[in-house]
Amino acid sequence: MSTSSLPTAAELARRIRRHSVLMTSRANASHIGSSLSMADLLAILYSEFLRFDPRRPEWPERDRFILSKGHGCAALYAVLAETGYFPVERLETFYQDGSPLAGHATHKDVAGVEVSTGSLGHGLSLGTGMALAGKRDGKSHRVWVMVSDGECDEGSTWEPALFAPHHRLDNLVAIVDYNKIQSFGTVKEVLDLEPLAEKWRAFGWGVREIDGHDLTAIREAFAAVPFVPQRPSCIVAHTIKGKGVGYMENQLLWHYRAPRGADLETALREIGEEELR
């Protein structure tokens, strides 16, 4: 972290949620639930752990953050704007004609987005390559990758899961945003991942399970990586899809629907609009 003017993690999380709701509403976009479930994780990461300089997005020593679940990009764009990569006003162009702020995380012309994602099962491999390059060059930066639970259906998630421990990439951290709902139903109904933490452990990762909305637990887990020397770390973060807006929580519908009208007002009220400025 290099910027001293950042809000607290709790405040940053609130702002991420508020921006995400407004962006999704304005764009009539999907995936608000996926942005809200990881807001607390992003807030702690960017406000307390990630080493970066928004004035130098290409700074070679920066920590890398990859949003492998690219559909949750409203939250990513929001945290990047709030941490100084680009003006907050630009968030209003999300999904708009001619805007670089696409509906899946896009690096072209968006400072701070490390790689473009959107097709699931790519980000962890990309991050593993960056971690391997960092190791071989004797660098100290870390690579953090946020993957979704649905993304753990992809075989290509498990290829780097096998590779990274073999190559002792203790500079790599995978966070699974385990909100238990994927595109067409609950994870349990669609393709059960349990025992998920055991799977990562069996692949050779140091693993911790946390409540992904408990800021203290997140902080402690992030501070403790690598959990096992010479091993990559996996944080299985138990989260709630749509967290922070009561009527969205644990509802598949809010993987798709955009909050408008009275729904929007309720969402903003619950998130705490008035505390922002």
């Binding site: 690096h107 994602t117 593993t128 390559g129 391997l132 390059a133 290509s156 290829e159 590779f163």
Partner: protein, 307 residues
């Protein structure tokens, strides 16, 4: 061609520590010297081409020049979306290397026949696509793609091909090499089909037909000037490739000719039908079966020229 590639890469990698060489668990008995001498520049990704490709992209985005290596369709079609999204969209400095282009592994079955990948790679935005004709071209092509910033695909043959070029050549990406001058007809080949093209030209000469022969080692960007000049100067153009007639050299040349104003030219794509081989066999056998040996190409050319 494989040996020419590996020797050249080894030489380049010794001088440039940015070069990293990733293999999808292939290269037994040929890659070991590289792996032992330059362990920090070598990665065996295991039998996992998607991961290999994205790791290469991640390393390239960290300043490396990353090469992925496997055989036949494994480094291309098996991991196509990783090439499109992770390599091409990020303009990552990744070089995809396939050994066993065309029917080089003919007896191993259709899974190992790389006969569509040139067309597929051509379609990838920003991808440079190269298929050298012989070991001499393979050496120079290896240097050229490593020096070229951005995504490249190189299709190699196998080990043990003889050189077709008889002397030094001027190899530049995107520039066809004229191997033989002629005024009556042009044979444009890519990859190892140059050998057949030169043989056919010799046979045509015995019948008083002088063929220009172009080695189109780079399919993308295509040397459109050489194609247009061939059409204007000779009035008849044939493309030779060990690849489907859809999407590869024949298609690329057809696109240029079809859009050129005021050019009237006889034209035929000589390649493979869009179908799987129902029988296996040596490369030579499968060439004969598909009309890609000298006799078959000659028949096709004469059929169009009407002699």
């Amino acid at each position: 061609m494989r040996t020419a590639f590996l020797e050249t890469l080894f030489e380049l990698a010794k001088a440039d520590e940015r070069i990293v060489f990733l293999t999808g668990d292939l290269g037994f008995s040929v890659i070991e010297p590289f792996a032992q001498a330059l362990p920090k520049q070598f990665v065996n990704a295991g039998v996992a081409e998607q991961n290999m490709t994205a790791i290469a992209a991640g390393m390239a985005l960290s300043g490396k020049i990353a090469l992925t290596y496997s055989i036949a369709n494994f480094p291309t079609l098996r991991c196509l979306e990783h090439i499109r999204n992770d390599v091409c969209y990020h303009e990552a400095n990744v070089k995809i290397v396939a050994v066993g282009g065309g029917f080089a592994y003919g007896a191993l079955g259709a899974s190992h026949h790389a006969t569509e990948e040139l067309g597929v790679m051509r379609m990838m935005p920003g991808m440079t696509v190269v298929a050298p004709a012989d070991p001499i071209e393979a050496r120079l092509a290896t240097r050229a793609i490593v020096a070229h910033p951005g995504p490249c695909y190189i299709r190699l043959g196998k080990a043990g091909e003889s050189n077709v070029h008889e002397g030094p050549i001027d190899f530049q990406l995107g520039r066809a090499i004229q191997v033989r001058e002629g005024k009556d007809v042009t044979l444009i080949s890519t990859g190892g089909m140059l050998k057949a093209a030169v043989g056919v030209a010799r046979r045509l000469a015995e019948r008083g037909v002088e063929a220009r022969v172009l080695s189109m080692h780079t399919l993308k960007p295509l040397d459109t000037e050489a194609v247009l000049a061939a059409a204007r100067d000779t009035g008849a153009v044939f493309t030779l490739e060990q690849h489907s007639v859809i999407g590869g050299l024949g298609s690329a040349v057809a696109e240029v000719l079809a859009e050129a104003p005021d050019i009237k030219v006889k034209f035929k794509r000589i390649g493979l039908p869009s179908a799987f081989s129902r029988r296996v066999g040596s490369q030579q056998y499968l060439e004969e079966q598909n009309g890609l040996d000298e006799a078959g190409v000659l028949r096709a050319v004469e059929g169009v020229l009407g002699s």
